[in-house]
């Protein structure tokens, strides 16, 4: 499977993401720069985490308006898989590729720790390496992960099974509504999540719970 990682000024998890994709798939992803108007012919496009444009205006707001996002939108409309992690999730929301918004953490503090995630929809091309209801560990590191959607949008997202990851009871680090940690679009090919599964893929990381996400996506054994 071929993948591409999007690079924007201020992102800082791009190397971790490239390492995870390379280690698990055996193929190094291509990289795409923010001003590119075309994305190469790949099966998966990943927007990694960080602080694009210094989080100026709102997290992900400036990045979401860069030329590469229009190219990603076109690919997503054609069914190409797109995944945004942390700042990448914020960018996908700002670009309107996913519903809702991410607000400042309820505690107002930057959180950097390990949380427990519940897989609430294992029937997606991203989560097929997990089982429904499985609890996994994952690191989080963010200041604005407090997911919010108006009542109507939230009911639709919940009703359509678009909530893919939820913070397990008692580990919600940011006050997000319904403990939402990650959602997928209605078509099932665009995923956004706050946690960093790419930072828990080998024993040296202290665990491998993130591996099944990439293995599931890449269609290789975990």
């Amino acid at each position: 499977m071929k993948s591409a990682v999007v690079l924007l000024p201020g992102l800082n998890r791009d190397r971790d993401m490239i390492a995870a994709l390379t280690k698990i798939s055996g193929v190094e992803p291509q990289t795409v720069w923010q001003t590119d108007t075309e994305v190469p012919d790949v099966d998966l496009i990943v927007i990694p985490g960080g602080f694009s444009y210094g989080d100026y205006l709102r997290c992900g707001a400036i990045a979401a308006r860069m030329p590469v996002m229009q190219a990603i939108r076109e690919k997503a409309n054609k069914g190409v898989m797109v995944m945004g992690v942390c700042n990448g999730f914020q960018i996908l929301l700002e670009a309107g590729l996913l519903p809702g918004a991410l607000m400042r953490n309820a505690s107002l503090k930057f959180v950097c720790r390990q949380v427990k995630l519940e897989i609430t929809n294992a029937n997606t091309p991203f989560t097929r390496g997990y089982s429904h209801g499985q609890i996994i560990s994952s690191p989080v590191a963010h200041h604005d992960g407090n997911y919010f959607a108006d009542a109507e949008t939230l009911a639709r997202v919940e009703g359509e099974g678009q909530v893919v990851f939820r913070y397990a009871e008692g580990t919600n680090p940011n006050g997000s509504i319904n403990n939402i940690a990650g959602i997928i679009n209605k078509q099932g090919n665009v995923l956004g999540l706050m946690p960093h599964p790419e930072n828990l893929i080998e024993a040296a990381h202290g665990g491998t719970d993130g591996r099944a996400l990439f293995a599931g996506i890449l269609g290789v054994a975990a």
Partner: protein
């Protein structure tokens, strides 16, 4: 031409920063504060003198960038 764009959180959207400000004001001895909602102000300078055109342009800027209309409302004022 100068304009001021004000962006505020929609009703019903929680504002933890506003709450923290209420707490800090309380600790300074300001009592009787029901609530504080934090927002943003953009002072924009535009070329030309077409007021109607400027207003249309500013609203488009708000829709496309200055506000996230999922969680924020905006207002435009020509100064």
């Amino acid at each position: 031409m100068k304009a001021r764009v004000t962006v505020t959180l929609k009703n019903g959207v929680l504002d933890p920063q506003g709450k923290a400000i209420v707490g800090a004001l309380g600790s300074l001895g300001f009592d009787g504060i029901g609530s504080v909602r934090q927002g943003k102000v953009f002072d924009v300078e535009l070329d030309g003198s077409d007021k109607a055109g400027a207003e249309t342009k500013l609203k488009a800027m708000c829709e496309q960038l200055l506000a996230n209309t999922v969680i924020e409302d905006y207002s435009v004022e020509l100064l």
